[in-house]
Symmetry: C2
Subunit: 197 residues, 2 copies
DNA sequence: TAACTCAATGAGTATATACTCATTATAAAT
DNA sequence: ATTTATAATGAGTATATACTCATTGAGTTA
């Protein structure tokens, strides 16, 4: 009976899981370069236990980030359901970003210090959003509502704007309030203004 | 005779100067978090010599960044001379960014790990550019060439776009070529398209 | 010339942090 | 019941790096 797992194996899986989940929480609060000893402490395990389950710090980071990316990726896929109108789409998009603001903020700030394999996770997320964006822009152009613009540049402008606010969030929201929550209407409205004929 | 300086004092000033200039070069090539021992090595002085001239690593960093900011700030002031046309202005602006691409790239990537006093340097640079931008936008709106837009949002959109390309430069220019050189026309043209009625 | 001052040196200290491994306690197998 | 396998431990190791300080040797002053 191959599937029967003893207490040992179950415990091992549970510990690994617990470490990943703790790491995700700690990364949100303290950034992705939080040392392994802090994560061990928060998880209530010995420092060495981390390395029983993950060969390196980067490996743990990768698994935690992958899980974030999976969650958000699923939400982004859902954008397609009914949104071919640009304004509706980017409003839904910024809503998702807002729900994961801590993740995006840390990712954007630290991405250049992250290992290469983790960077591809952001590329993956962007490519999902990009696809829906492309369809909505084409539609808007065909309907004569939006300017004829390069999809590529229009999308990068939108991402650039959001990233700029996330990266400089203490400047825009000095008290630690959510930047996206505070500026989403202004961001969506002024971006749509730019796209309109 | 107060101004007479002996060999000693001259030497000290020269060494300090040499360390700052070396640091500027090294920072451009290796990023602003290059360790002090590397800078000492490149400057051909002992590691301890760094701390004869600067109390902390951050202090050296501050002096080097301040010098970058002064140089660029002067160029940015020059934008005012003849540019009240938006397209001319942002083309001149991106030209200056391109001339200092390595500096901007490192600054944008590492700014969240830099000490607070150095961040104000970027705020300072942006406020100079922002002033010229504001004038050009008002002019364009009054002339009926540009949409009525919030100066603030229009400027942040432009900066966001440039920062996005700088931050993701290996993605846009995988071979290490200058991103700004390669994309400046496309960036200026598509941004101006967005502003036009 | 002798005494003194100080810029520069570089070996040494302090700290942070990733990762190792002998040991332990408990589950599993005999 | 005894032996074996292994999850977890935590003290220990290795490395990076900011910063210190006693020492040196050349410049300055008396």
């Amino acid at each position: 009976m191959e599937n029967v797992q003893g207490k040992r194996q179950l415990q091992k899986v549970a510990t690994r899981e617990h470490i990943i989940e703790t790491a995700m929480l700690v990364y949100l609060a303290q950034g992705f370069s939080t040392p392994t000893n802090i994560i061990a402490q928060e998880a209530g395990v010995a420092h060495g236990t981390i390395f029983v389950h993950f060969p390196t710090r980067e490996n743990l980071l990768f698994h935690a980030l992958e899980r974030f990316a999976d969650n958000i990726g699923e939400k982004l896929h859902g954008l397609s359901v009914s949104n071919s109108d640009m304004e509706v789409l980017i409003r839904a998009h910024i809503e998702i970003v807002g729900e994961n603001e801590a993740f995006y903020k840390n990712l954007i700030r630290e991405i250049s210090s992250l290992p290469l394999d983790t960077r591809s996770l952001l590329v993956f997320l962007n490519s999902i959003a990009s696809h829906h964006f492309s369809i909505a822009l084409q539609r808007g152009i065909e309907d004569g509502k939006l300017k004829k613009l390069s999809v590529h540049m229009a999308y990068n402008t939108w991402l650039g704007l959001i990233h700029y606010y996330l990266q400089n969030s203490e400047f825009f929201s000095p008290n630690g309030e959510s930047v996206i929550e505070r500026y989403k209407d202004e961001l969506v409205n002024s971006y749509i203004d730019l796209l309109k004929k």
